[in-house]
Every structure is written in structure tokens, then in C-alpha cells.
Subunit: 377 residues, 2 copies
């Protein structure tokens, strides 16, 4: 099967997302093409990756690059959300500066969303901006976090509160690499594919209901789902790169989702990002129903599809206790999507009819959260 | 005397630099005008300043803002270059997040270049970009560092190696505030005014030879020099915001200057930035003469003017010992303006005829440095 290329145009930036099987073993070609560097033998690539990805895939990527006489500086951080921290950022930056990489050299993010966010943010602020390439290794990163240029780290005050908008020179998504992804991680990525259907692509959601399980095994359906997802996301991002308007639609399920991730202290044993989004999307639909925007039938349909692939859909699916409704509200209002204490949610008027709801009354949210918590106690 | 306004247009960004006497006491007006916020009573301003500025001027600015019912969060850091650090950046960011400032709120840099670089960088990465206003309180900041959008911090590997290009919503330059600036700081700022003449404004350099001493006392000549300097800089920056080409001209005196600052470990007792630039500009002209680009007469003329206002011009003006030539070369090649080991310098072909010289032979630099060091031993 041939690789597919999506060209992303964002203002002055223009870059390719290349999607297909076995791209790791052709990485040098795509890197050289996208960087158009004068002299690749003088160039240095910092490969930022995590302990998990390094143990399975780093040798393959290194061998491909060394074969093509590209100098590499591997930087391996601990796997997990805790690496999106100020201290790990500082370590990565220092290793890149210690290796004397220059503006025209390149940082490669070789990993999932955490690595993409961390390495991309580092690339954006070293020498006020170095070259940057993403080689995402999780489904979530391939269909979501590697697309659109958001990078950043977490703060004690909330997720992704420190970061930059920074576009890569290219994204290389090897669909075969997903075969080594734990099933739970694969499902979590799948939740964000479903999200695109629920935002504004009802036909795509129906296609997922029929073909979704096929995506879990490698083949043309998986590639198609990744290509379509990247197209949906780039279409939204191209309209609103810096999230002043429509891009907020991509936060469907994320306001509640981030609240739950914070409430479970980013403990991946309890909840990972895509799972939080799955529950968050159901909550957004339930909240829309409570505001009489949709009929409950739609909620059941969405829950049914998420459950069919093994995703959690309810608060009771989260192991352990949750804070009370007031504490959850406090977490919501620290989310960066909150503007001047006026709560903004992505709600929906039907399948694939999501919209940005500003000035949602805090009382309505609080009573909704109370009701949801009552159901699990 | 009326304030002057320069409108800076950089791509999608457009903002005003307002220059004139007693602007601090009209700050609320200019802030409101530039931010065009819906509701100023709901808005919060983080004022990032240093211990020196806070002790003299913070009360005045606070009184003006409080009188206009603007909520403020003062954040005071230690005065000095050491505050351009990862640890101080983290403190500033945490204080801003702890006060729950949002994207539409604003960070004000109230201080010199260190504060502008630190607060601007913080504003650029908090929530992927907050509003940002500069109120520069040093001559150097008013005529150079507040203009052009460079922000950042230092690393153990060199100066300004971590940062972002980030434009403010406006710059408010109160010319009266400079009367409280120590003379040594004023002179250091003056060196960067001279730099604009030496880059490409020979008439301005001649005007400075006649009027330079007037700038040291408050009045229309001072305002004119600041306005002209900002105009020269914005003209260059507008052509090349992200320093891929002509903007590098602004580094006249800076490659040697940064080398000297690093060699003296940013010890302000020995050398401050503008002093390093003054010596660096003389070195750039001497090196140009060594390469047979200019006649020595021009060097003496420039040295004479810098000396006339009390600036250092030679390596022997730096108290204490300097490293040997090989060690100085090592510092030069870590400078971020170095591209792929090909040394780039700003050299000159005459008064106000500077140009970007790429691929300068390292041997020529080394022998020049050896010769300069011999002269002081």
C-alpha cells in the first residue's frame, strides 16, 4: 500500500503529513525532503523519545538514519505524562544545547502526545525556534496531537498551561508502528477519531460504527481512518490556527475530560487522556440533553459505540473516588479554555452538530455534576 | 512636550510605541487603548518588575492603575541578568497562573531589558500566549530591547539561547523615568543608539557626534534620539521579523560583545551589555580594518565619540583578566548567530555601511583575538 500525503497550509507555514505502513524505514528520505538542508552530513538531529518507544523502535529509526549518514543525538525521557514538566523540559533543552545543535538542525519527536508536546515546545523555544519533525508512535498522536501545532507542558495549576503554537516541518505517521501499541492506548486514540465524527462529520461517525473494529488491525481501513482524521483536524485548524474561534470545537469532551484527568491527578492507572475524552464526550452529550438540546437516544448510540470498542463512558468506569461537585467545578474554572469566568463548553444539537456554547451558567454545570456524582454513589 | 507615536507593522501584528515625558502617569489610558478589552474592571494585569524599579517607580504606576480601577498583580524579581534564568521564569509563570490570569489578561514588563525579555517570554508561553505590554525603564530597553519582539532567557550554554519571538500590544516609553537611571546604565543604552548610526545611518552618527551629550539630560533631543532609534530598528525588523536575513545587522558589536559578556560571566561589576556592545563595535571595526575593508581613521573617530560619553572601547577597559584567544573562540562558536560552524560577523565598509559577512575564516578571527589580547598584556 502506498503512503498518503496531506499538505497542511497554515499562513506562511506549509508542511506534509505522510501516512502509511513501514515509513520508519524510509524516514531519512522524508526528513531530507522536508528540511531541504544544504548538507545533511553536517546536520544533526536530536531524537527525543521515551523509555517505552526507545526499547522497541529506536534501533530501527537510528539504523535508518545512520545508514543515510545523518548525525543523531538520542534523548530518552521517562514514559508518561509526568515528563510534560518544567524539569524534563529543562533537561531536554540542556541536552540539545550541550550537543550544540543550531537553528538549522532539527528536533524529532519520536513518541506519543507527551513526546510531541514536550519536544515540540523545546524546539519552539531553543534559539527562538529550531526545525521540528514529528514521528508519532501512538494512534492518538497520529490523528490528533501531531496535527495543528499545539505544544506544551503541564503546570501544577493545570494541563498544557505553558506552551506554544509551533508547526513542524513534517509529520511521518507509520501505521505499522501502532501494532506494538498496548490495546488500552489504541482505544484511547480511537476516542479522538470518534470525536471528529461527533464534531461535524455524522457520515464519518456512521462509517466508524460499521468499520471501527477494522481500525484495530493494520490495513487500508486503519490508514483511511487516520488520513480522514488528519484532514478533519487540519480543516478546522487552518481556519483558526491560534484558537480564537472555531478551533475550540476540537475541545469536544475535553473540558470535562481535563477536569477528570486533573481530578485523578493524571494517574494513568486510573485514566488516560483518550479515556477521559471518551467519558467527557458522553458527559458533553448528556449535558446537552439536560439543556434540552438533544434527545437521550443520541447519548445511548454514542455510548454504545464507545463501549463496543472497550472504552469507558461513565464516571463509574473510573477506578477510585472522585472529588465532590464543588471541587470538580474549581478544576473546570482553572482550565485555560475558561474566559473571564464565563464557562465555555462544546455542546451539540445532534449527531455531528457540535457548537461552541459561551456563557454557560455555572449553576447548570454544578447541578449537572452533582447529579452525575449521585448516580455513582 | 507631546508624546510621539510610532506604529509598528509586523505581518498580522500592529502596535504602537508611545514615547514622551511623564507617560507613567497616563499609563491606564494607553493600556486600555491598546488592549481594547471589553471590561477593564474584570481584567487583571500582572506587573513584572525588579527590585530596583519597584523601589523607585512601582508606587507611581500602581497608583495610576488603581485610580483607573484596573486589578494588578505585582511580581517583583531580583534586579540583574541572573533573573533571566529558568528558575526565575518558572517563579513568574507560577505567580501568574496562581493569580488565575487568563489569555485576555495582560502581562506588563516594567523594567529594563532583563524584565522585558523575562516577562515577554513568560507572556508568550503562558496559555500559549497572553496579552503583553512593555513599559521600559532603561534607555537600552526603550531604544532596543523593547522593540522587535525578541524575548528569552539565558542558558548555561549561552545568552538568550531559550526564548520566543513575541510582539507586545504596545510599548510605553516614559522619557522622564530615565532621569533616575544610573549614569553607567544610561551610557550603556547610548552605545546601542550609536549602533544604529554605524549600521546604516551615517547622518545620524554625525548628529550624535554633535548632540549626543544633550541626550543625557531630559528634553526634546532625548525624545528625538529615542524616536529615531525605534524607527531605525523597526524598519530593519519589519523586513525580517524572525532574523533569517537583514535583521542580523542589528548584531553589530554583539558577536564580540556576547563573547565578552560570557567571558566575564555576566558579572555586571566588570561589564554590562551596552558596554560590551561598545567594545564589540570597536572590535568589529578593527577587524574590518584588519580585513582591509576600512581605514583606521574611522576606528579612531568611533572610539573618540564613545569615549566622549564615557563608554569603554577596548579590552583593557574591562577590569580583571580575560580568557586566552582559544577560549574566546570557543565562546564565539557557541553563540546562536553561528550557523553550521561558518562564522558570521557584522563588518563594515565605511561609516554606516555595515554588512553581514558570512563564512569569515576562523583563523582570521583567532589571529585577530590573539593580537588584541597581546595589546593588553
Amino acid at each position: 500500500m502506498q503512503a498518503k500525503t496531506i499538505t497542511v497550509k497554515l499562513g506562511k507555514h506549509c508542511y506534509d503529513i505522510i501516512i502509511g505502513p513501514n515509513l520508519i524505514t524510509q524516514a531519512a528520505l522524508h526528513i531530507k525532503h522536508s528540511l531541504q538542508h544544504n548538507d545533511f552530513h553536517q546536520m544533526r538531529l536530536a531524537i527525543v523519545t521515551d523509555t517505552n518507544v526507545a526499547s522497541i523502535h529506536l534501533n530501527t529509526l537510528q539504523a535508518e538514519l545512520i545508514k543515510n549518514k545523518i548525525n543523531i543525538v538520542p534523548i530518552i525521557v521517562e514514559a508518561g505524562e509526568q515528563s510534560k514538566s518544567f524539569s524534563t523540559l529543562q533537561i531536554v533543552i540542556n541536552e540539545i544545547l550541550a550537543a550544540r545543535l543550531e537553528r538549522g538542525d532539527c528536533v524529532i519527536a519520536f513518541g506519543g502526545g507527551v513526546i510531541g508536546d514536550l519536544a515540540g515546545f523545546a524546539a519552539s523555544i531553543i534559539r527562538r525556534g529550531m526545525n521540528f519533525i514529528q514521528i508519532p508512535t501512538t494512534l492518538l498522536a497520529q490523528i490528533d496531537s501531531s496535527v495543528g501545532g499545539k505544544t506544551g507542558i503541564n503546570s501544577q495549576y493545570g494541563k498544557n498551561l505553558i506552551g506554544a503554537f509551533y508547526q513542524p516541518q513534517c509529520v511521518i505517521s507509520d501505521t505499522c508502528i501502532l501494532d506494538t501499541l498496548p490495546l488500552r492506548e489504541f482505544r484511547a486514540g480511537y476516542a479522538e477519531i470518534v470525536k471528529y465524527g461527533l464534531i461535524n462529520q455524522p457520515n464519518f461517525f456512521e462509517w466508524l460504527e460499521k468499520n471501527g473494529r477494522e481500525i484495530f488491525s493494520n490495513g487500508p481501513i486503519r490508514t483511511k481512518a487516520i488520513v480522514r482524521s488528519c484532514q478533519f483536524k487540519t480543516a478546522i485548524v487552518a481556519q483558526d490556527e491560534h484558537e480564537t474561534g472555531e478551533r475550540a470545537l476540537l475541545n469536544l469532551g475535553h473540558t470535562f475530560g481535563h477536569m477528570l484527568e486533573t481530578a485523578t491527578t493524571y494517574d494513568s492507572k486510573r485514566l488516560i487522556h483518550g479515556e477521559a475524552v471518551a467519558i467527557g464526550m458522553v458527559l458533553a452529550h448528556q449535558f446537552s440533553a439536560q439543556l434540552n438540546l438533544i434527545n437521550s437516544t443520541l447519548i445511548y448510540r454514542i455510548e454504545a459505540h464507545l463501549k463496543a470498542v472497550g472504552l469507558p463512558t461513565q464516571l463509574k468506569d473510573i477506578p477510585g473516588n472522585l472529588p465532590d461537585a464543588e471541587a470538580l467545578m474549581a478544576l473546570l474554572t482553572q482550565d485555560k479554555k475558561v474566559s473571564q469566568n464565563n464557562l465555555t463548553f462544546i455542546l451539540t444539537r445532534g449527531l455531528g452538530q457540535s457548537f461552541i456554547a459561551k456563557n454557560v451558567p455555572p449553576d447548570a454545570v454544578l447541578s449537572f455534576l452533582k447529579q452525575k456524582l449521585t448516580e455513582i454513589r
